[in-house]
């Protein structure tokens, strides 16, 4: 899960140091270094997604801090971390919605930012909190997006019909997306992400604020997708869900990857992934102490 120790070239004059891969710059400061582009593509051939030195800085503060990550093909990969850990920022950079300050992302053998045209065909995306084309109905949205991707109209229609049935959106009928519930919005976005049958799905909080029935439907569809060879990367706050669904997990804290690997490896000797997570992000003693007045005050 770390940068490859191959022939490296410095690519930036930033002051952050990549894990185990620093060189000294002209001014004597430590510079991050990365594999040469052509070698990087060769070395990550087995990974669905490979990230090297990914960085995003806001107002001088690194929100994502030189992270390296490899996601195996066919894995159900959970990206977990507390609020502000950098999960959404990382996923946004992987999906091309946010420009990284440094680093590279290789998806299914394609550099996401160097060859975005090909990269877009490799991924399906479900972001959190972004709007849809609100005045289209669900079937209209799928039809439009499918044809936007160049899929023939008949194929789009049949796939959309099937996705709507499987995701239990039949009852929505001609209702506009603007009037969808949170669960319905997540499901129609998932349908849009699956429409072109991409090898990799990137989902940001796909089950956040979703009712249990919709959550079950989404989980089932995602499990079927990975069983068919697809790779799912999703972020979540719910450790029980990640432990239940995922084969691999990466824990983020303060913009860095603090642990990653198979779920059992990350959990280690802890009783649960939740306990391991609390320990990893340094939150063992949160909500302890104080509040003695709670429950005893008359007003």
């Amino acid at each position: 899960m770390s940068g490859e120790a191959t022939d490296r070239i410095p690519v930036t004059t930033g002051t952050m140091t990549a894990k185990g891969s620093s060189v000294t710059g002209p001014g004597g400061s430590a510079l991050p270094s990365y594999p040469r582009p052509e070698q990087l593509l060769e070395t990550v051939g087995g990974a669905a997604v490979a990230i090297r030195g990914l960085t995003k800085v806001y107002d001088g503060r690194p929100v994502v801090d030189h992270i390296d990550l490899d996601v195996p093909v066919g894995s159900f990969f959970g990206l977990v971390g507390p609020n502000g850990a950098g999960k959404t920022t990382t996923l946004s950079m992987i999906t091309g919605l946010l420009r990284p300050d440094e680093g590279r992302i290789i998806m299914a053998g394609v550099d996401v930012w160097a060859d975005p045209v090909t990269a877009k065909t490799k991924m399906g995306v479900l972001p959190d909190g972004l709007r849809l084309f609100e005045r289209l109905s669900g079937p209209e949205l799928l039809s439009y997006l499918g044809r936007l991707r160049g899929i023939p109209a008949d194929t789009v229609t049949s796939r959309a019909k099937e996705l709507i049935a499987v995701l239990d959106l039949d009852e929505a009928g001609s209702k506009l997306v603007a009037d969808y519930s949170t669960g319905m919005r997540k499901k129609i976005t998932l349908a849009a992400a699956l429409l072109h049958a991409p090898p990799i799905l990137l989902l940001d909080e796909p089950l956040e604020a979703v009712d249990p029935v919709s959550a079950r439907v989404i989980r089932t569809v995602l499990s079927r997708y990975t069983a068919g060879g697809g790779t799912v990367i999703f972020s979540s706050h719910v450790m029980a869900l990640v432990e239940d669904l995922c084969s691999h997990v990466a824990v983020m804290g303060h913009g860095r990857i603090v642990a990653s690997g198979k779920v059992a490896e990350v959990r280690g000797s802890a009783a649960s992934l939740d306990d391991a997570f609390m320990h990893l992000v340094g939150a063992d003693d949160v909500a302890e102490g104080g509040l003695e007045w709670l429950g005893s005050s008359p007003a």
């Binding site: 877009k120 995306v125 909190g129 972004l130 709007r131 084309f133 439009y144 936007l148 991707r149």
Partner: protein
């Protein structure tokens, strides 16, 4: 409790100033100074009216009635700008309806607009005081007028709070707002025409019309308040009694209406979450973006569908179409009004502006779907053609209408050449600045008049100016032939009709390349900019 409400409103009103940067604070202070100056002029005008009691009464009766209408309609077209208008915000507080009502009444009187209203009311009171002894009575009438405006306005907004909380209600608000704008244009046109005919007949038809209207309005609760000082002065006791009873009854009924609406809105969930216009399922289309032509067709079909369904897209078209027909008649009396269609033509071109922000962060759906040049250019051309089809029809109809009304048919070719070039040029550059200088559009739809997002007003202005400027540059060749047509012979107008559209089409095609390049190189930055509109 009343003090807490007043303090809350003051904090809400002043928070924008406190949060503003130094430069913005400076501009706000300049704006206030201009507003104070304008208010001073209004008050001075009313004070000057004091010497003509009949005219003063006519003016104040009209003012009081218009003021009441404005107070009632303002929340409908700008719901959400005043956070205390929505009673649901107070639903969880342990307050009785009566306490909440008193608190909201006081909070309604805190703010820039209530203060401006109060200042104008003082001016109106002075105008109504033919003797200084009547001034206290007139001031009381003015205070009751303000109170009545607040009570009825709050009662109306509490009644429609459930409606305005939903998308359907806000859509309705936008439609009502645009209709009011059209009524305003129509009334201006009618008054203009009346004034023209009156001046040509040597009579004061417009003045007598307003006087008759004012006489009728003086029997209403607001008008009656304006007549109390004069009826008291004239010792017209019967009329005074009626003038006292009418507004008193209005205040009592208004207070009861407000209390009832408030109680209902605090205990009832809005039932307007369902879509007002579900899809008929016929509009899916078959165009596929596997080629430039396919992408253009796909984007045009989508724009057509969303414009039909979304008032925020549809209303500007209605307003611009009305402007194209009525505005030239208002600004140019006599020959040459067909050339005034040039302004609405540029406005039509602006409908292609900020095209990547209209759906807010919905832009991500395009960002993850494609990054190739063909589709990016197809999108730019699709948006452009979607605007140009109805735009051309409106420009042609408007120019011919002006030519027929003013008997200017010989200038039609020159005017059409100029207007079409302006529209095409502005469409071309509107597309380009959509990618280079995007700005967020409010997605909350709380007000049809609140489009700019704080902090991006400069971008909005810059984008509009570039689109205007681009239109003018592209229309320069047509303008040269127009000058020749005016100076040498109208035959040159035909050259303008040929050159204008050709230069415009060339601009649209060439600039679409630049638009595609700018879009592809800046999509994450465009998304970051327009995302602000989701939260506004």
């Amino acid at each position: 409790m009343v003090g807490i409400f007043a303090g809350l409103k003051w904090r809400l009103v002043s928070s924008r100033f406190r949060a503003a940067s130094g430069a913005t604070k400076g501009w706000l202070v300049v704006g206030w100074c201009v507003a104070v100056l304008a208010l001073g002029l209004v008050v001075f005008g009313f004070v000057a009216l004091r010497t003509n009691p009949a005219l003063a009464r006519t003016a104040v009766v009209s003012l009081f009635t218009v003021q009441m209408l404005s107070w009632v309609l303002a929340p409908l077209v700008a719901f959400g700008l005043d956070e205390t208008v929505d009673p649901a915000r107070f639903a969880l507080l342990p307050l009785t309806t009566a306490t909440l009502q008193r608190g909201l009444l006081v909070s309604s009187l805190v703010g820039y607009l209530p203060v401006a209203n109060a200042v104008v009311m003082v001016g109106a009171a002075i105008a109504l005081s033919t003797t200084w002894a009547l001034l206290p009575i007139a001031l009381i009438c003015a205070a009751v007028q303000l109170l009545l405006c607040v009570i009825v306005s709050r009662a109306a907004s509490a009644s429609m709070a459930g409606l305005m909380a939903g998308r359907r209600g806000r859509d309705l608000g936008m439609v009502v707002g645009s209709l009011l704008f059209l009524v305003y244009i129509g009334l201006s046109f009618a008054l203009n025409q009346t004034a023209s005919s009156a001046s040509s007949n040597g009579s004061s038809a417009i003045g007598s019309g307003i006087t008759s209207l004012s006489r009728a309005l003086s029997w209403g609760p607001n008008g009656a308040l304006a007549t109390i000082p004069s009826t008291l002065h004239d010792s017209n006791w019967g009329r005074l009694l009626v003038a006292l009873l009418t507004p008193t009854a209005a205040v009592v009924i208004g207070w009861w209406w407000w209390a009832t609406a408030l109680r209902k809105s605090l205990t009832t969930l809005p039932s307007t979450t369902e879509g007002s216009a579900p899809s008929d399922g016929k509009a899916s289309g078959t165009a596929v973006a596997s080629s430039l032509r396919g992408m253009v067709s796909l984007v045009i079909a989508r724009d057509r569908l969303l414009t039909w369904r979304d008032p925020m897209r549809r209303i500007p078209w209605i307003i611009v179409a009305a402007l194209a027909v009525l505005w030239p008649l208002l600004v140019v009396r006599g020959h040459g009004s067909l050339f005034a269609v040039a302004f609405p033509a540029v406005m039509m071109g602006l409908q292609a502006g900020n095209q990547f922000a209209v759906e807010g962060t919905g832009l991500w759906l395009h960002m993850v779907a494609f990054a190739d040049r063909t589709r990016a250019r197809g999108e730019a051309l699709g948006h452009a053609i979607f605007v140009l089809i109805p735009g051309t029809v409106i420009v042609v109809v408007a120019v011919f209408l002006q030519a027929i009304i003013r008997d200017d048919l010989e200038w039609v070719p020159a005017a059409l050449g100029l207007c079409l070039a302006l529209m095409l040029g502005s469409v071309a550059f509107s597309g380009y600045v959509s990618a280079r200088l995007p700005y967020a559009m409010r997605q909350s739809r709380k007000s049809m008049f609140a489009n700019s997002v704080p902090g991006q007003k400069g971008r909005t202005m810059g984008s509009t100016l570039v689109s205007f400027g681009g239109g003018i540059v592209v229309a320069l060749p047509a303008l040269v032939f127009l000058v020749l047509a005016r100076a040498v012979s109208p035959v040159w107008g035909w050259a303008a009709l040929v050159v204008g559209p050709i230069s415009g089409i060339v601009a649209v095609v060439l600039v679409s390349n630049l638009t595609a390049s700018a879009y592809l190189s800046r999509t994450p930055e465009i998304l970051a900019t327009v995302a602000v509109g989701d939260r506004s």
